[in-house]
Symmetry: C2
Subunit: 686 residues, 2 copies
């Protein structure tokens, strides 16, 4: 190969005059520049200048990853006249590649294009090794693609009787010489097929290397398909994303119900199942692994790829899901002291998890757990939302049967779990249901008439829209989900139907038939049916318990951190994505915060899994962060009980909610308003 | 625990006077000494002085590994009066241990015996961690017991909600605090049972740690049974030794035919089988693994141990056996360039080799191969015979279907394989057979009468003994094995029946009916039968080819090393153990050497496996040695052909054999003797 001499490498003395005559190359957008001997491939020039250009084939014109554009014209800024003829014309290798795989007009393979004069070369984002993944949500941090699995095309020295050596050893030698990777281990299962691959590929193979440490796969010839799966093992739903490990592109996504549901709806009932049925943990392990395997087959089929090209899998899940996935009896998580079998992250073969719709040497990475109630899913949430990198104090809440709460900033991070119970998921609510088409998810109550209107999942129309009935004919109105009940309660409060202590104001029954007697208490009639949907006093109490637990957990962490105000709140999880922030705050689910700075992160745990799949350094990062997270066990914190009791009512009555007060017309603060006077005051303000 | 202050640790100033009053302890045989506070356990004193005392339980009086003797009396040499009362009296823990496991009178558990005055303490060899294994053969190097698997008893902190952590992490913490072992990984399969073990053992467990790096097993409470197996996978026989990993004791040994024999007698026919039968390699892999599993069960049964306590397995074997054990198609080894899939040593789970009569987390270690024809068995031979540590030039020969030849000393080591063919194993010989009861293994021919006498395997009597017939009634005389044919030929030569060029001298037929016409050539009638046993001219030619190959290989390496004489020869393998050195040298199988310095090493490959099993450092050593061994491929060395042709005759005719000439009455050197004159001359000297 031609000698590449970087001008900025400070070559001395005698070569200076030679260098002065050598053509210059300027790379954009990096701005790196140097002089190189005529005939130097652009890729070599880029490498010697540290310009980030991808390549799997090592400059052999096979992979097409190293494409660049020549920027032609005179660049006064660089003092360069980048004429088209200053680059060698396209050659047969490029023509072959373009014919086979297609290539944009003007693009060149930088391994084939040779320097003939001064040039300005633009490296498009897709040709960079460390491509940036731009996330849709403005507040989410972008990240670099730096997967744990990398492919390397190799030309391997043939065996030579004069100097005998193993085929593997010559592969490792090629990896060292051609890619600078040393000290690798090799899976036995790779070795079993290595000799055949080498001969089939005429001593050219592509290998997959895991974290620069282990040779995990080998294919004959050139192979450029490397995929990964990010798996969020939820108690209810398992979600899988299939990614291209080099582009970061999500090729397919699929989800299905966690089949463990037949052993118990929620986590505790599954742990109980194990306690009652010896071997029950194995049944559930088999079930969840089978579902994951089916999802792998599904996403591979959808994307039209061979599951054998799936080389890496990353898993998140709460501690019970984490243990059952790993084949660990979760019994200890069912009672104090809630001891995890292990909290460290784990790297192992996917086959150790009994998975088969994936390359048999694929590596699985399971994110670390934080504590007995704060699992790898929360680690994923942290990785997605980055409170540990934030200057602002962030509260990150993932609401499910338990609420996992993380509070802090780059200096200090605290985490706890708060037992919200399943009310937010629609369970234990009279007309409650899971978030599914037909479930009421938005509610508004007219403070004057006390008449409701609502939206159901699956339709964008409000229920008072003339077309509502016809548009929801298919789904019907089936019940109310978590976000619906939160809105309903907040609206009931704002309309004066709900008192600050959480009791449904029976006096309102005189104003509207919507408020009705229901045994010794009163209920609000949200929908005429069928089915009729009521919000009962019992429902209100269930939500009060749930939201008090959530609020108390957050307050407990704030106490520990010694703060009274939050800079930012992120609501993660499906429920967190659907609730209206303002209503949640009215109800006192979350502490006061500038409403502009409260956002929903969607499935942040899943996003964290995806980040860990696409960026290996993120794994080290989250492991380090999790080690320094201060774990708070709410069950042993007396202050938690105090906060819990104090948070049962509508909290802006007892705690200042300045941001909320500025944004929403709240009943005035002060002693608990009696229904009547509260209503009057409120009505005066409307 | 009391503070232990070693006098030689150089404690300064103010504590000097205190120290002067502290009791002294002298350990024998190390001679290490120090002063310690009264009440210091002897084990603690030993540790702070670096005295080598074993312990699995960490000083809790459970394992009994730390036993010592107090030497009482006045020791003027040490200026110490070691009175019995200077050690605390035996306590309840010692009494319990003695009752449960037995203890020699006078012995103390050094973890329980407390210093009360000046004492001399003797550490018996069996209480040392690094016990020496004394090998029977005088020339074999002893080695230390330092197994890859160590047991550690732990008291683990219970989970604490105030500071949540995983059970595994607290186990690792205990390993660090109680044993100074850090940065461990843990097998998932250990983790799956860890919580149960911890609770069953009331937070006391014993763990097995592999090479100080991986936690591979956990048992509730105290567990002191750790075994290992050394496996020699021969083409014909598989041999297994079961060892106690802490004492080095061999508890049981077993061997059985390699069931692959049904696919082909020798290596080449097995490789051919694979070439002819796709999937044949898998059949043979399954067969050999099944046999190994059966042997594991057999040795465990014989020793009365639980196979689950077998925690480590070490394997040696020639390249084809090595590949088939690992599940690698050996086809490439069947033809030039004889490329190994890999030559490096391998550490993996025994389960990856499909083995099940062993702990499911047991680690397997496979010694490195050297070249396409020089396998892990030769690495084992080197480890056993240590040519790489020798100042003398050593020739180590392992004779089988191929002869693996190693030559050199601590400065330089060469290895090659020479294609001797199966003649030395009795194959392709008219009356040949494997070494088994009934096979002729020793032969003497009276030079005067040309009458033979012989011994068969299974009897110590010569055939001319009156009791021979009755004693060999059971086995009979069935044929002649490799060592028998070598002796027969050497004796035929010494008796003048065989000429120096290898032809049977027909002229001798006139002297004795033992020499008979056999077609166009002559044969020697060794046994009247049944069955009649002849040594034919074809047999002589087969042995000539074999011994010429062996000799040529050795000479080739000597040329490479630039030497003409050898300091020492070691004959390894079953054949090497049975042949008479003198006869081998007469025949010219091996170069000339002082007969006193030619020895048989028996199954040195198996011994090497045993050493690697019991001493982890030996693994690193042999890997480093193998890397620097100069591999010579005889097939591409023109000099090999020259030596081979030159070695077909009886070599002391063409090459000087000064040592042999001094020891044996050889026919005089010079031109090839004609039968008649050669015989006469020889007879004159007898």
């Amino acid at each position: 190969m031609p000698t590449a001499t970087a001008a900025n490498a400070g070559a001395a003395g005698s070569s200076a005059s030679v260098m002065a005559e050598q053509p210059r190359v300027v790379f954009t957008p990096s701005g790196r520049r140097g002089r190189f001997a005529p005939g130097t491939p652009i890729l070599d020039a880029a490498r010697s200048l540290g310009v980030d250009i991808d390549s799997v084939c090592g400059g052999r014109g096979l992979c097409g990853r190293c494409q660049v554009d020549q920027s032609t014209g005179t660049f006064s800024k660089h003092d360069i006249d980048s004429r088209p003829e200053n680059l060698s014309p396209g050659n047969a290798i490029e023509a072959r590649y373009a014919k086979k795989k297609g290539m944009q007009v003007g693009r060149r393979l930088s391994c084939q294009a040779l320097l003939q004069g001064d040039v300005v070369i633009d490296v498009p984002p897709e040709s960079q090794v460390h491509k940036q993944v731009v996330r849709k949500r403005a507040e989410a941090r972008d990240f670099e693609i730096d997967p744990a699995i990398r492919l390397h095309y190799l030309e391997v020295r043939e065996p030579d009787m004069a100097s005998p050596s193993g085929d593997l050893e010559r592969v490792l030698e090629a990896l060292k010489e051609q890619w600078g990777i040393e000290d690798l281990e090799c899976d036995l299962r790779v070795l079993q097929g290595l000799q055949k691959a080498l001969r089939q590929g005429d001593w050219k193979i592509t290998v997959a290397v895991h974290r620069g440490q282990v040779l995990t796969t080998a294919w004959p010839g050139f192979h450029d398909r490397a995929y990964g799966v990010a798996v969020d093992v939820g108690s209810t739903t398992i979600a899988v994303h299939l990614c291209n490990l080099s582009s970061g592109e999500i090729l397919a996504s699929a989800g299905r119900m966690n089949p463990q549901i037949r052993f118990g709806e929620d986590l505790m009932s599954r742990v109980s199942y194990v306690m009652m049925h010896p071997g029950g943990d194995e049944e559930m392990t088999v079930a969840v692994r089978g579902a994951i395997d089916a999802l792998f087959a599904e996403v591979a089929g959808e994307a039209g790829i061979d599951p054998d090209d799936i080389l890496n899998a990353v898993f998140v899940g709460n501690p019970v899901m984490h243990h059952l996935l790993l084949g660990i009896d979760p019994t200890e998580l069912g009672g104090a002291p809630f001891a995890l079998a292990a909290n460290s992250a784990m790297t192992l073969w996917a086959t150790e998890l009994g998975l088969s719709k994936i390359n048999r040497n694929a590596r699985a990475y399971v994110l670390p757990c934080i504590a007995g109630h704060v699992g790898a899913d929360t680690a994923g949430v942290i990785l997605s939302e980055n409170p540990h990198l934030s200057s602002e104090i962030m509260l990150v809440v993932d609401v499910g049967t338990n609420a996992e709460i993380v509070l802090g900033n780059k200096d200090r991070l605290l985490a706890c779990s708060s037992p919200t119970g399943p009310a937010f998921e629609g369970a234990q609510i009279t007309s409650g249901q899971r978030a599914a088409p037909g479930a009421i998810e938005r509610v508004r109550i007219d403070p004057a008439t006390l008449e409701p209107r609502f939206k159901v999942i699956g339709s964008d129309l409000w229920s008072d829209d003339p077309n509502f009935a016809s548009e929801t004919q298919k789904t019907g109105v089936t019940g109310i989900c978590g976000s619906g009940i939160v809105e309903a309660l907040a609206e009931m409060y704002l309309a004066g139907i709900l008192k600050a202590d959480g009791s449904v104001d029976g006096a309102m029954a005189t104003r509207s038939p919507r408020v009705r007697e229901d045994g010794r208490t009163f209920a609000y009639h949200l929908h005429d049916g069928p089915p009729e949907i009521f919000i009962t006093q019992t429902d209100v109490r269930a939500i009060q318990l749930a939201k008090a637990a959530l609020y108390a957990g957050a307050r407990l962490l704030m106490d520990r951190l010694g703060i009274e105000t939050l800079d930012r709140i992120v609501l993660a999880g499906a429920f967190g994505s659907h609730i209206d922030v303002k209503h949640a705050m009215v109800l006192g689910m979350i502490p006061d915060c500038d409403l502009q700075k409260v956002s929903s992160a969607g499935n942040a745990a899943g996003s964290g899994a995806l980040i860990a799949l696409l960026n290996q350094k993120a794994r080290d990062d989250i492991e380090a962060v999790v080690r320094r997270v201060e774990k708070i066990e709410t069950a042993v914190e007396p202050r938690f009980q105090e906060h819990f009791v104090g948070a049962m009512g509508i909290p802006h009555k007892s705690a200042p909610f300045p941001h909320l007060s500025a944004a929403v017309a709240l009943p005035p603060r002060g002693g608990v308003a009696s229904g009547e006077s509260g209503r009057r005051r409120r009505r005066n303000r409307v």
